[in-house]
Subunit: 489 residues, 2 copies
Amino acid sequence: MSRVSFEEFKAQRAEFIAQEEGRALGADVVLTEDEQKVNQYLMKLKKAELDAGFKTPSQFFPSRHFFTVLDEIKASPLFKLIQKLPKGGILHAHDTAIGSMETVVKATHKDHLWQKGEFGRDDPPRFKFSKTKPDELDGNVWRLVADIRKEIGSEGYDQNIRNLFSLYNKDPLNAYHCINHVWSVFAKIFISLEPLVTYKPVWEEYYYQSLKELYADNVSYLEFRGILPQLYDLDQRTFGPEEVVQIYYDLTEKFKSEHADFIGVKFIYAPHRLGDDAAFEQYMNVAERLHKKFPTFVAGFDLVGQEDLGRPHSDFTERLLKMSPSIQFFFHAGETNWNGYTDENLIDTILLGTKRIGHGFAAIKHPRVLEEIKKGNICIELNPISNQVLKLVDDLRNHPGSFYFSDNYPVVVSSDDPAFWCASPLSHDFYVAFLALASARQDLRLLKKLALNSIEYSAMSKAEKLEAKHKWNISWNNFIDQTVKLIAQ
Amino acid sequence: MSRVSFEEFKAQRAEFIAQEEGRALGADVVLTEDEQKVNQYLMKLKKAELDAGFKTPSQFFPSRHFFTVLDEIKASPLFKLIQKLPKGGILHAHDTAIGSMETVVKATHKDHLWQKGEFGRDDPPRFKFSKTKPDELDGNVWRLVADIRKEIGSEGYDQNIRNLFSLYNKDPLNAYHCINHVWSVFAKIFISLEPLVTYKPVWEEYYYQSLKELYADNVSYLEFRGILPQLYDLDQRTFGPEEVVQIYYDLTEKFKSEHADFIGVKFIYAPHRLGDDAAFEQYMNVAERLHKKFPTFVAGFDLVGQEDLGRPHSDFTERLLKMSPSIQFFFHAGETNWNGYTDENLIDTILLGTKRIGHGFAAIKHPRVLEEIKKGNICIELNPISNQVLKLVDDLRNHPGSFYFSDNYPVVVSSDDPAFWCASPLSHDFYVAFLALASARQDLRLLKKLALNSIEYSAMSKAEKLEAKHKWNISWNNFIDQTVKLIAQ
């Protein structure tokens, strides 16, 4: 036995690192000369934040709870650059949690809005738009929001609305003591928000404003989940699933006509996994109808809600297998810390042929699942900030995305419910992923790959993808040109 | 395109799960009829704790900081069973942090002990055994511990010693704000403890007592790291590295003669990675001498200290390559959250041919490292509680050990510095590993495999391993017999 020479060792080490770099996500991207310039600048910014974090770990943003670093991140030059970067699409986000809650705040200034119950209670207030005072079934008094607003002051009222529709808290680690607690608050937001946003004019405004905000965040495609709640108007008309999807479709077309470089939107029907068997039959029925009526706009089917508390996926398998084979699945699975419990939803969803996996946080504990993900090119939709806020992981350097990034797993970075944690539509998730999930060695090629993956793993047809890539390429090249100019200044 | 039948799906699912179970650590172990009985009992206890945790996540012990659940774990029937289980050996632990600090508390009752400085200060007190008052170089007053003990009361004094030599804190998350902070307190414990334990009579008592505690915890083999500090006695004699190792050797032989079923001990010389080049030359010199003088008792070489703040491994490579090729390496590597920084020590240590890897927490982010670990059968020494206390991970369900367990990586579970966090020599780490790193499906076969791995991946010779397995088998069979009787009652 003998040891190698130092020269030989250094050569082996360089080769080893080159092999690892060669396996990482984005390693196959070849940068142009201009992209290399942008990359140098990007990596200078990245290295500055990493080096500062390495020196003072308690200050590293992605290791701390997102709520405690929100303002500081906004001032980061790296974050600002990532905001400008054309990030492609969001493939995992939920209907009423994408656009900022400011649209909802504005909605509470509209006429005919009623409120029952007070702010700051465990049981959140209920809202309802109505020409006349709604029925008081439970003895609680409905009051006009306009009157309450006068009483407590308009700014104070708005702030109450902001607090109500956000998980934001200055002291999040003490405010949310466990995963079930934060999920219960999270679920209450959706419930309390629903009658506000399902008022048809607000619904339309909120969706359109969400697209505007996406676009401003340099996101040009959206594939979003929705439960399709019934909408209503002041004339007591109600609107069912097909009509709601039609609203999405029409507004999308309108937005595209006004923003030529915007790629488009697809919708994934995703009702709640807590529903009973009768409700589930209803969901499947709706899914079939939507699939026929909107064969390209409605991309497929999913189930939402906290997996640990919801019904296991195996409860639904028999029914799901009966769905039209042309309906594609985009299942949430493995959004859990448990091992040998809820995480086995991953197995069901893969065997059901899911096209993508929402979260896949627990996939790292399942070697056969990992194999199938690679073999089947099943995209994992990572949502790092969501996973932190909803208490799967504290320090994002421990997020399994690191593993997926390191060995070129098919992944995209998405944002889940950014509005509920005061994040931008996608930039914050890209920022933490780039700093904490990626290796210090991963560079612009990773970000470019993530953008390209969001097109590649979307539900778009081949022709749609071609057009999408073309549009994205133009935006990307503009970004590169502008950044090169900026650096040269 | 069509979907499979429900029957076919169920068959596929069962096969998928069988394949995953077949890949997990311990899947190759075949249980006897009696072992199956013990397994049923073990799994009943495990399932009870998992189910309770699944229902109330905030109460699941391995998700909470070890200090906050220490007393509750001691009452767990699962923990009690794991204590009794013959766990094989500890392959990763440090000289003066294995046995309980009660031995040190007792040592402060000895005559001729002096103290300089007070308890409860940032700068911890210094100790020295001496017939006469030691020199006061810095103006601080040396006082006899016997006098201080009288002054503040004997029990109060003992409690101060316990507090001083432990990281234990009732509110650990607020007490230690970052990894560098907890490491600085941790390092101070070693420094403050050294002149107390390097008093030769205490050194001998502490080591012998550590072996007794290991043995009581049903650990029958030890491969431990030490920095080999200079010992002293009251006659101002000092004892160098060879003499210290000789003490270890002689006491080990004594212990073995008194405990026929104890397998034995080996030592890994592991000086501090913060040393300068001159110190490092000295270390290598000592390593060569020890290797010649104790070719079997001294198993090899390592470096200790916080990797993030220490010198990178590449600083030492050139020198390490010059060491006698027959000296084996057992390097710490990847005890970090960073990715593309300190974690690259993994690459250096693997290329240096390390026989095992201490911690390997970051290996999961390095696909080529993972490959080499499997190919070279390089054992990862996991120390889950240490990683939590020293702030690499909060919820142990996020520990990378889950990944290693799920796909049969060569691993052992060890305990690092159990005395400093008031843990038993090995049972607590086995307990959290079994609940949080393992799948709910992993059973007695995993625990048996971990015990067997601790022999397999030790530095013992083939002949020593044969004897070790023989001894361990007897203990194991006794454990199975006794547990079967217990269950039958």
